[in-house]
Symmetry: C2
């Protein structure tokens, strides 16, 4: 087989066979196809797309490019959740322990912040001592013990994706439904799951601006899961304003602890329970949504969710004391408030702008080499539909560096629009799969 | 400037500014943009195209990536011809000396065979001793002396094209009008010309199968020439059957000598005169086509064209004796004939298949490392519209290696179709510019 032949066929709108895709991914991963030929093939795929069969074959080839977790020793049903990414999206932090408290095993391999969105690994690392770099053989016993592991992908897990993702990032070939689908699904299928729940974000804070593209992505991921005998459910959820009040790292961990203590913001709590219910249904731990929600609510009420979070943090070398005393989490020395310039109702609380503001502050990376400041962040006080008066606080900025604060505020000031009236958008738009 | 920004803008259908194109070509040529980013940009250009302004800027950036010939010391007007490539297209070999004999300077920088088409440099090298690798400073005195130079591009002439062409060849990014235009035009504009004539081939033996794309290419090249104050005329000419009777290398040189002796095939002679007339008009050596054709016909009749060819070969260290005695050119030891299986009229004499047959025989390269056998080739005896009887010779194959002969014949047998009736296609379809 020749890479050039595959490139020209895809360029001209043709399709690649399962064997060709398997050959291309395997050969590229071991260095047998140069980066420039793969770059041309990826751009041809952004242009011409991958059909359903090609998407499944591409996912399969990626999945088999390295090791796959073997969780056969774990007795519980194994279900995970993946979010396409948003601003203030700390759901994983409360969801994984809560679902584990209900008897499911959650082997959650997470990612870092990307563009204007935060990443679960970065948030976890704001817990003093917390270790995300687990070896594959550490995962089954931790899952047996606590029902939950939250970790980074090891170098041997889907190495094709690690190599391809870096290339896509550098060549403008990220926004292709087929490539996004196979990147996400290959990593999740490598977790040896019995089921997967997807949180597909739509709105200005989502990773692709076009909501139709995000819905198509939800459908293609459900289909690829079905092709690999792994049931997948997707919730299409709102991401035009941040989830909850906190955007950053340590402050998002604190908000997640609050959710498990029963006093979290209503949207974060509701989305945790909605996604958790899907996970319990997939795990066979509940037969209907009502009983699933009851189990989750009970695990908040009786503190078992919080206990599992505490045990997980301890098992991964973090300071478990943060759960009972969140003031042990890192903070930033300065605070600055942004106030409303008019009386009225918040008609926009722009997720993307707030996400970018947090990155400017140091809560995310502008370049790969940047270090994250875990204590800085933004607290959002007024969301869409809230009535405000001139001078009311819209946001509190927790900052360390004055020039970064200035950059943050320049962006943050544009995030709010005050108008006559507005209704809060629905949290969950659609259920797919 | 960032390469990624240019890639994503072009991918999304936007345009690149003159400054951005200049930066990208200059930076890529000196190694500052990695091959994989350029590959992605090239595929985005195949997809989204380059508009007229971008094509001119791209050509300009390529032109200034290295040295440009300085022919100010040459008194005569400087005009060149470029063909998009075909089968049996040996026109340059008779045309350049003939036009030089009429007083024009022809600084012809030529190429090698590509895909199924032959290359002028490969044909010239079948003349014993002929040297195509001239240094830039050798060119002006030779032009002064004989009015014609036929040589390869030096490494310092349009180095961006040499690097980009290799990348395009390996990444399936050759067929983009804007990239073809700028590749051809940058090299020709680097010759310091007063005018350029293009022979744009259409038909199965041309480099792009779609005749509309070839016509668009002709128009874009004329436009880029105008943007650079270099008048360009294009003839759109037939390439569904080979030009003349000979396809190969030494045999094509012999056929070109015959044209200058006045007994060449009518199509090769006619196209030589038609293109030559355009060159004389651009050079200001004639005021109308009729007088231009008369000058060219006279230069064939009185042998001055042949004399210039002889002097050019001698000046470039070749054996000038081949002109008066073409049997001094290399030959192949074996001959094999292909005969008609039916009575009738030739309705197809498939240029591309005959071109591929010649490559199989060793007259061209299957891979870049292959060496050309200058003596092998194919003589075509029956062309479209010719009446044949069963057993008549359609072609003679001049061969050296038995297994190569078999490969050649397997392809060659499919080149002819014998039917009821057919009219020879017109040689020249359109004049553009």
């Amino acid at each position: 087989m020749h890479a050039l032949e595959l490139i020209t066929r895809k360029r001209d709108g043709g399709r690649l066979s399962d064997e060709e895709i398997a050959w291309a991914i395997a050969t590229y991963t071991k260095g047998g196809i140069p980066e420039y030929q793969m770059a041309a093939l990826l751009m041809a795929i952004v242009w011409q797309g991958l059909d359903a069969g090609e998407r499944s074959a591409w996912t399969d080839a990626m999945l088999h490019s390295g090791d796959v977790l073997d969780l056969s020793s774990v007795d519980r049903p194994k279900v995970d959740k993946h979010s396409t990414g948003g601003v203030g999206d700390k759901i994983s932090l409360s969801l994984a322990p809560l679902v584990a408290a209900c008897g499911v095993a959650v082997p959650m391999i997470s990612g870092r912040g990307l563009a204007h969105t935060g990443g679960t690994l970065d948030k976890l690392e704001s817990i003093p001592g917390f270790r995300v770099g687990l070896e594959p053989d550490e995962i089954p016993p931790l899952l047996e013990e606590n029902g939950v592991v939250m970790a980074a992908a090891s170098k041997t897990l889907v190495p094709a994706d690690q190599k391809l993702y870096a290339l896509r990032d550098a060549t403008g070939t990220v926004p292709a439904i087929g490539l996004i689908t196979s990147s996400i699904m290959s990593k999740k299928l490598a977790e040896d799951l019995d089921g997967l729940v997807l949180d597909v974000k739509v709105g200005n804070g989502a990773n692709m601006a076009d909501p139709r593209a995000m819905r198509e992505l939800a459908r293609t991921m459900v289909q690829v899961g079905a092709d690999h005998d792994t049931p997948v459910k997707a919730l299409v959820t709102e991401m035009s304003q941040p989830l909850g009040a906190e955007v950053g790292n340590a402050n998002e961990v604190a908000e997640s602890i609050a959710v498990l203590r029963g006093d979290g913001p209503s949207d974060v709590t509701e989305l945790t329970i909605a996604l958790g219910a899907e996970m319990l249904l997939l795990a066979g731990m509940a037969t209907d949504e009502g009983s699933a929600r009851e189990q989750l609510t009970a695990a908040i009420g009786d503190g078992t969710g919080l206990e599992v979070m505490e045990r997980m943090i301890e098992a991964q070398d973090g300071d478990p004391g943060v759960v009972s005393d969140p003031t042990r989490l890192p903070t930033a020395p300065g605070t600055e408030v942004l106030t409303a310039q008019d009386d009225g109702v918040v008609t926009e609380c722009h997720a993307r702008r707030i996400g970018v503001s947090a990155i400017r502050l140091g809560a995310g990376r502008e370049t790969k080499k940047d270090r994250i400041d875990p204590g800085v962040g933004i607290t959002v006080h007024a969301k869409v539909g809230d009535r405000v008066e001139r001078g009311d606080t819209l946001a509190t900025v927790h900052w360390r560096d004055e020039s970064r604060l200035a950059e943050c505020l320049a962006e943050l000031e544009q995030a709010w629009v005050i108008g006559e009236s507005a209704t809060p958008p629905p949290l969950i738009h659609e259920r797919i799969g």
